[in-house]
Amino acid sequence: EQADKTKPIEITSDNGCTMEQTKGVSTCTGNVVVIQGTLRLNADKVVATQDPQGNQTLQATGRIVTFRQKLDNNSGWIEGQSSKLDYDSAKHFAVLTGNARVKRNGDLVIGNVITYDTQSEVYQVMGGGANAGKGGRTTVILQPKNTASQPAAAKPAAGAAAQ
């Protein structure tokens, strides 16, 4: 939701955190859960960087990183998973890297890198496995929209490198 980025970010972890105050970097490990408004992110390790203005960027890594966020106007939830996730709350941007999947109201997008703008709710998928360079397949599954019951939802932008 739009309001998420103005909410405090809460990070809880099992194995503690290391905070380097002079650099504004905190590293938390062990079943890390990040909550900011309706956004909820789970990972094994999270590195949170706070700039002098207080804006936060998160880098989450782990065997599987999952995130879930409510969409505006009660149009459901968006869920994603990957092996790495970079989230910039000020620029309202999330980049999922490595076996990335994003699911939204039945629509499903699979690729190597998915970028998701939490403000415009547009996500972009790019293929290209670890050694496939720019190429690589992406998968986009769009559910038929029942125009009568559902408001027109913004379509995901097709991947630039989709082949």
Partner: protein, 189 residues
């Protein structure tokens, strides 16, 4: 002949030895140390009320200052004990942090202090970061290394952000804060 010689030489040596022993024995029993008063080890040797102790570095700048409503020390013990201690630590005369507690003790040789009950360590804000405040029920502070740690549940405030953990260690000189076990951090702008 040899027998004669042997007893002739032995006797004086024996005599010298005996005399030496006698002298030592007499010295021991006659020694009476007027200064050492046998003190009760469970009672303070001295007590100071409402004290301010200040220490300066080689350049004459403030190094540390300890304020307490009461201070006492037991005979032969290295630790000094305090009520309501408030320890300020400076670097080149600039305040780096200060620690308060309801009770505490300080070992002057090891420069290590232990604070107890409602302990707060405050590092004032500077150009790089907002004020940091560590709150716990007990805290160990090594003033030589500017290092603080606790095993107790603790709350850390930094600007508007709050962190909770069970135990921490804080290397103040490098701004390195380790939160142990279950941790929760709430970042707020």
């Amino acid at each position: 002949m040899i027998k004669l010689l042997r007893s002739h030489r032995l006797f004086p040596v024996l005599l010298v030895g005996l005399t030496a022993l006698l002298t030592i024995w007499l010295d021991q029993i006659s020694r009476w140390d007027s200064h050492r008063r046998e003190l009760d080890p469970d009672k303070p040797e001295y007590v100071a009320e409402n004290m301010i102790a200040t220490r300066y570095d080689k350049q004459g700048k403030l190094m540390d200052r300890l304020i307490a409503t009461r201070m006492w020390q037991y005979p032969g013990k290295p630790d000094a004990y305090f009520e309501n201690p408030d320890l300020y630590q400076y670097q080149q005369g600039v305040l780096q942090y200060h620690v308060t507690g309801e009770t505490g003790r300080y070992n002057n040789k090891s420069q290590q202090a232990y604070f107890d009950k409602k302990v707060v360590l405050i590092k004032p804000a500077d150009s790089k970061q907002p004020e940091t405040r560590l709150v716990s029920s007990a805290m160990f502070v090594d003033t030589g290394k500017r290092f603080a740690s606790s095993k107790a549940p603790s709350v850390i405030y930094q600007g508007n952000s709050v962190a909770n953990s069970i135990g921490f260690s804080y290397l103040e000189s490098q701004g390195l804060l380790n939160l142990y076990s279950k941790t929760k951090i709430v970042y707020a702008k």
